[in-house]
Symmetry: C2
Subunit: 146 residues, 2 copies
């Protein structure tokens, strides 16, 4: 057994994707965490509601492939901070409709702005065509297309 052997860890896709994902998340995390004290699961819920308006926790979980306990706790914290408003459904009393409050809207719009600018800076290293290719391939890998 001679070392080093020829396996290239840096090029192993799950590993490489993870490194890229972590790196890419950092810059944005810094903002939502430092500026608003949000967790990853929380900005995600916030964005879902910002984009689609009124949703239930289950719908958010399904759209974002997030476990319901994560959604539940994220919603709890967002509601505590008055960023999200919860309203029990009249038709089905198990269901709770979620919506951003005006304060939540404000945070969402600010973070959306940041997100767009931040993504721009990430993609600045790539050409428009490369960007399209990259996203297409990531979508395939994420199993969102077929």
């Amino acid at each position: 057994m001679t070392k080093p052997d020829d396996f290239d860890l840096q090029a192993f896709l799950p590993y490489l994707l993870n490194q890229a994902a972590e790196e890419a998340s950092l810059g944005f995390q810094k903002v939502y965490k430092d500026r608003y004290g949000l967790l990853r699961s929380e900005w995600r819920v916030l964005f879902h509601l910002g984009i689609f308006g009124r949703l239930t926790a289950t719908e958010i979980g399904a759209q974002g492939k997030v476990h319901k306990t994560k959604v539940s706790r994220a919603v709890q914290r967002l509601a505590d901070r008055r960023l999200v408003k919860r309203a029990r459904s009249e038709e089905d009393r198990r269901v709770e409709w979620l919506e951003l409050t005006p304060a939540g809207e404000k945070v969402y719009r600010d973070l959306r702005e940041v997100a767009q600018g931040y993504e721009g800076s990430l993609l600045a290293q790539l050409s428009e065509a490369e960007m399209q290719t990259l996203k297409g391939m990531l979508l395939k890998l994420a199993g969102r297309t077929n």
Copy 2:
């Protein structure tokens, strides 16, 4: 404020990368977890040692951008299972040299095999050229080049 607005969360790079990374990790995780009861940080340490031979914990941390406490705990568990052998350095008694045991080698070789096969199946959806492009861009994003 009309909903839904035009921000595309699925196409937001940090989000998309995360989804792809998670999805891509699942298949491999299933093997190292179910077959050997390893955690993510553990298979990584195992691979570093399998590839490069004798390393210190600090070197592993630097190469893989992993915090030293994570390495420390991974090494501890690997040593408990007799997959890694630790030896205090004679020149500098703060340093510990880490190496795979024969049992560790065996696990490494098996998992390397699995990794290669698994990556092949992931990349089967892509052409050779696409694969090269994808990895190149991910390397850029991961900040490994420049």
